[in-house]
Subunit: 596 residues, 2 copies
């Protein structure tokens, strides 16, 4: 069974030594009292919960899966899941980042995110039960009526109830404008909602008393397409005025999907039959309200793959040091043993370091974006909030797509380190690969992310957001320009920055001629910009490591070696990506559809 | 459920229009009577068997898996598998490429391989039952005593019995020199064999009366390491002198592995307790004898991923033409529908064309190598046999590693085309991905393949084999040098040829200093040479397509478009690979083992 050690040292390094998040957070009045010791203590306890309670249930949960009782429509998650959830609630963990007004602890999102990274490492399928709740919480917090907030937020905050997002229908996922679920207004101000939803994560389970569904549906007089979609809150059990549970509502799980991975999460087909709901936000403005959830969910999905990359790395590294097989080509390294540990083989190290560099780079980027989101939400300076918001908007699709694509590569490499054993369930490595695969699909496929980045976030404002972020990179390059020891990191970073500027202009020009050029270049382009952000954070981490390596703490030595690996072996992927992005639309569209 | 259409037209194009395999085969006396019509007719019938008998069992076989009865040690494969195998035997398919002396049909291997491609597309897990037999057949055919051949080959040829390869043990896979299974000589000339083997594909099942295991074990006085390994044939039931079945032998399935994919194939833990076996070949020369199986198996594994790439492509292309979602960025393409079919989106086409170009390129390379193997085995010219043998040796690790890595990329892309549905079992796409994953591992991991290519096959003979193959490429480049229409294919091919020469020399020089440099560069290097071979065959296919496109047959138009896609979007991967291969050993070895 895989092991998991919470990477607290690396989290602290990123938070306190590289990003100085405490100083950043203190600019926000509501976080004025935050300090590093509090953050570290919370994460230490959170890490224990992840490693001791959740990790032991990951393999067994995958093997067992969820069970649906077709008569009661009740779903039973795998053994131990309900008990783990009870501990989660008992520990107060659901409230970590929630609003004190509703019983939350009001800690910064950046702390909650690192806690989630650890839970994702330990058990992605379990973590999706509370994870989806968080989306429902955010959405009601931003758009709910005072009554809705009073009814639902305290229970979501305490974790007594969980939440879902009901968007997808059989015929529409990406294209929500096509959805058909109907909401009919009633005399009492509620709506009766009828339709069929699919792929509803944590849609039904017995771990809590009530499940709060956020449902997209169409009003009778709604305009066609995405401008006619409204958002409703539909509880599994109706809630009486005194807060007690009323009758069972007409929203049922009609089937569970059999999936490649995340077996332990109940992925439900939900049927709504005159289910009673109340409107969230304005009529026909449901998509915008839903996007509050969606952006948080996209960051959350990147975080899932970050967690999987970390845990896959840890287990592969341990195996590579333990498993003996063959001798090094350069001669025996462990002559006292029957063979050398496989970590002596350069390609085994390459696979391990790929995962490590992607995990640590992803952690730096994700932590940076999380603290920026804290500023976007809570800074007392409006300009600062706006600037932070723009930066989060720019970097969200990169976190979603780049980190999940990297997670797929990394977990597959880590599995490969195990040879044939990697393919066998009991070692747990193949589960990381299967679980990682969904992260490239849900909450907007990675192709959708790349269109969002290039089309909307970059070309859509003439590159303004990218330029602002580019200025931060340029300032860092300038600052370190005379630092001899930093040249190996700064030069390729500066070079890639120039190339991104050129490439962006070039694609922008082509897109004037034919907007499909954006679609042809977007996926390659996103990975190029992903590498630019990773190169930036790797250079910043290297700077700190260089300054501190004299301390003798080997943590910094390892950090520097991983940084060098990143620049030597991973960043060069951009050489290909820039060429293929440039190759443009013609080779993709030349073939007639009928000939496929 | 996925559909499968045997790609007969493309097979015929490669065989008869590009490679002229009939002319090549006629140089071999035993294939002097072969003709294109016979080959086409066999493949047409074989395609029907694959599509009509095997394909319908793929999804259900994956869901059901195999069952072991722990008291009888018998394994029951999924429903329908036994009946399908009976049809396979009834149709005479096992005998296709086998020696007429033992009841075989004596058809060229290239025909058998294309038949296997189709069976792999339809059902990789099922196909491994007869597939492993073929390895046992080859090994006994090459190294068995006349008695062993008379006893086993007719039954393996008819398919009445199947075979296995028992190599791996819990503590050794790649490093077979460490194996511990013991063989003790008996007075009657047999051996009693005791030990534990793992990962034995098709190790036990009820589809045939007897299973013939080829087992690596160690004689009592054997030298240590790989020079002390002998090969034995160990039947499940002993065979009486009259050919009837005798007592049950001491070789049992002790457990089935729970795996990521190929669920329907029984991957067995085999226990040998004083199992009676006879020696195959010379004592202590078992590894060499086993390598006859191994090389065939490596080509077979490449062929598995070729099959999966093809079938994944077919289903993704059909889905992309059918599924409507969003509008093209350049405006509606199917205004009469609620949305455009997703094939209008450039990145969907990129994913599809990646799979298509890898399937068609892989088919050309594999077919070329198979017909070359026919020449290596059956040419009446010794020089020709030697030259063919060298070329097969060079290209085998490329087929194994490059085609299986491509298969992983391609099946994952094809699954992505389905969005969320791709993650769901019933669509069948995620099974292709899971099944494809093992192909990168077994029969020598892809890292082992790359070391075999660069270390043994290329640097081991100072590049002689590579130079010979390079001369074929150079001759083609020269020949087409003045053909204007071919420049878009010839120029990048020639350029990559030059780069491979330079890169090979460079790594060779570094390896003199430190042999670990080979290990650091090998995986990237193999993909570079893989692209060189694909570029060569794509250029040859483009040449034929250019010549024939005036016929109006749209097959040639599609071939040319796919060729252009390959050169524009896939070949540029070499830009990165050459850089990372060059980055060498230092970034991999810098970090101390303890810091991982």
């Amino acid at each position: 069974m895989p092991q998991y050690n919470p990477p607290l040292r690396d989290m602290q390094f990123v938070m306190h030594e590289v990003l100085n998040i405490v100083d950043e957070l203190k600019q926000c009045p509501k976080h004025a009292d935050i300090d590093a010791d509090t953050i570290n203590a919370v994460l230490e306890e959170g890490g224990k919960f992840a490693a001791e309670v959740l990790a032991p249930l990951n393999l067994s949960g995958d093997a067992e899966g969820c069970a649906l009782d077709k008569t009661t429509h009740e779903v039973t998650p795998p053994k131990g899941f309900k008990e783990a959830y009870a501990k989660y609630v008992e520990g107060g963990w659901p409230a970590l980042g929630c609003d004190p007004e509703y019983g939350g602890q009001g800690l910064p999102l950046v702390v909650n995110q690192s806690f989630y990274e650890m839970m994702n490492s330990a058990n992605q399928a379990w973590t999706m039960y509370p994870g989806l709740s968080h989306g429902a919480y955010e959405c009601l917090h931003a758009h709910g009526t005072p009554e809705q907030q009073a009814t639902y937020l305290p229970k979501l905050t305490s974790g007594e109830w969980t939440g879902t997002m009901c968007l997808t229908e059989p015929h529409c996922g990406t294209d929500l404008g096509m959805l058909r679920t109907k909401a009919v207004p009633q005399a009492d101000g509620t709506y009766k909602i009828t339709g069929a939803k699919i792929f509803i994560s944590a849609g039904e389970h017995n771990m809590v008393e009530n499940i709060i569904h956020l449902v997209l549906a169409r009003l009778p007089d709604a305009p066609e397409g995405s401008k006619g979609i409204s958002l409703f809150v539909v509880p599994k059990f109706l809630v009486n005025a005194d807060g007690s549970l009323g009758p069972r509502n007409g929203i049922f799980c009609a089937g569970l999907e059999h999936k490649m991975g995340i077996h332990a999460n109940s992925t439900c087909q939900m049927v709504l039959e005159d289910a009673v709901g109340t409107l969230v936000g304005q009529p026909n403005k449901g998509l915008a309200a839903m996007f509050v959830m969606m952006n948080a969910a996209r960051l959350g999905v990147g975080n899932q793959s970050l967690g999987l990359t970390e845990v896959a790395y840890q287990n592969a590294a341990a195996y590579a040091k333990d498993r003996i097989q063959m001798r090094a080509l350069s001669g025996p390294k462990a002559p006292e043993k029957a063979a050398d540990p496989i970590i002596v083989h350069p390609d085994v190290r390459k696979m391990l370091l790929t995962a490590r560099a992607y995990a640590e780079g992803g952690r730096a980027l994700s932590t940076y974006v999380a603290v920026t989101l804290d500023k976007a939400l809570a800074s007392d300076d409006e300009d600062e909030r706006k600037a932070a918001d723009d930066e989060v908007a720019l970097l969200t699709p990169i976190i979603k797509a780049f980190i999940t694509d990297n997670g797929w590569i990394a977990t597959s490499h880590c599995m490969q380190v195990f040879g044939g054993h990697g393919f066998i369930h009991e070692w747990g490595m193949e589960q990381f690969v299967r679980d990682a695969r969904i992260n490239m699909i849900y909450e907007g496929t990675n192709t959708i992310q790349s269109l969002d980045l290039l089309g909307r976030k970059i070309l859509g404002d003439n590159g303004a957001k990218l330029k602002k972020f580019g200025k931060k990179i340029a300032a860092f390059v300038e600052e370190e320009g005379t630092n001899e020891a930093m040249q190996e990191f700064i030069n390729p970073l500066a070079d890639l920055g120039d190339k991104v500027t050129k490439l962006t202009t070039e694609i922008g020009m082509k897109a004037f001629q034919n907007p499909d050029e954006v679609g042809a270049a977007a996926v390659d382009y996103l990975r190029v910009v992903g590498h630019l952000t990773f190169a930036y954070f790797w250079a910043r981490m290297a700077k700190v490591a260089l300054e501190k390596q004299a301390s003798g703490d080997k943590f910094y030595t390892a950090k520097l070696s991983t940084a060098r690996f990143y620049f030597a072996k991973l960043l060069p992927e951009t050489a290909t990506l820039i060429r293929t992005a440039r190759a443009g639309l013609q080779p993709l569209m030349e073939m007639d559809e009928a000939l496929f």
